[in-house]
């Protein structure tokens, strides 16, 4: 099992002029982990697939901006 996001913590200097961002996140999408796609992976229904942007659940990686976080996405 893999996670779709990783976090790291940039160094904050006492001389930084702006309020420091202490935690940064980056995307690590499924294509990094799945290797050559195996056959017979579980699929979405066609209607779900269109909305998801992919036919296969394993590749579904919806991106929301911080203000949208609460708003959902398809069940996996």
């Amino acid at each position: 099992m893999f996670t779709l996001y990783k976090t790291w913590h940039p160094i904050a200097s006492p001389f930084d002029p702006c309020k420091p961002i202490l935690e940064k996140t980056f995307s690590t999408p499924p294509n990094l982990y799945i290797g050559f796609q195996p056959p017979n992976l579980p699929q979405f229904s066609p209607q779900e697939a269109l909305r998801a942007g992919t036919l296969w659940k394993a590749f579904y990686d919806p991106y929301f901006n911080p203000f949208e976080k609460a708003k959902g996405g398809l069940p996996r």
């Binding site: 995307s27 999408p29 499924p30 294509n31 982990y33 799945i34 290797g35 050559f36 796609q37 195996p38 269109l50 909305r51 998801a52 942007g53 992919t54 590749f59 579904y60 990686d61 919806p62 991106y63 929301f64 901006n65 911080p66 203000f67 949208e68 708003k71």
Partner: protein
């Protein structure tokens, strides 16, 4: 030969009248990591790539034109009813001075599209790694545009396009595996 179908790949909706978003979206229209670059890059590389991979480059290249059309639709919807005042307020005054509300292949800073954005090295591994990189860059750009937008309908379309980049990247990675000729040793996790 290309046949055009009078249909968008995905239904595009924009619910907020906010032409400023058009300025950012244009990065995916005529920018270095945008859909035009992707389409032209793959459709051009396919002439010199091994046979096993020509179909994939043709198909993904064609799909990118469909994505280009979706971005154009988003920009069109955001700017077609914009007055010169609204264009200026959205940071699109320079664009308006040249183009009125017409679309144009430039990036979000107004720099016109150039073939320097794409490459064809003739080396299949170099070409495919460029393609994987292009897909990851496009994916990231969609993330930044989603971050800049508070229009949920627009973001739904952008999320679709970002997911397509993930799939395209996956297929190009598989193409590399095919050319490495490790078929019998396909590793499934």
């Amino acid at each position: 030969m290309w046949i055009y179908e009078k249909k968008l790949q995905y239904p595009v909706r924009v619910s907020t009248c906010n032409p400023t978003l058009a300025k950012y979206l244009v990065e995916q229209y005529g920018g270095a990591d945008g859909e035009l670059s992707a389409a032209l890059r793959y459709l051009n590389q396919r002439y010199s790539i091994p046979d096993k991979v020509i179909g994939l480059l043709t198909d993904i290249g064609t799909e990118e034109f469909a994505h280009l059309e979706m971005i154009a639709t988003m920009i069109y919807k955001l700017t077609k009813d914009a007055t010169p005042e609204m264009m200026k307020a959205a940071g699109l005054g320079d664009h308006y001075a040249i183009h009125d509300n017409a679309l144009y292949y430039a990036n979000s800073s107004g720099v016109p599209w150039t073939a320097s954005y794409i490459q064809a090295k003739g080396d299949p591994i170099a070409d495919l790694y460029e393609d994987i990189a292009a897909e990851e860059k496009a994916r990231a750009t969609y993330q930044w545009i989603i971050n800049l937008s508070d229009d949920p309908d627009l973001n739904d379309g952008l999320r679709f396009l970002r997911e397509r980049e993930i799939i395209h990247s996956q297929r190009f990675r598989e193409a590399v595996e095919i050319l490495k000729d490790e078929q019998g040793k396909k590793i499934f996790f």
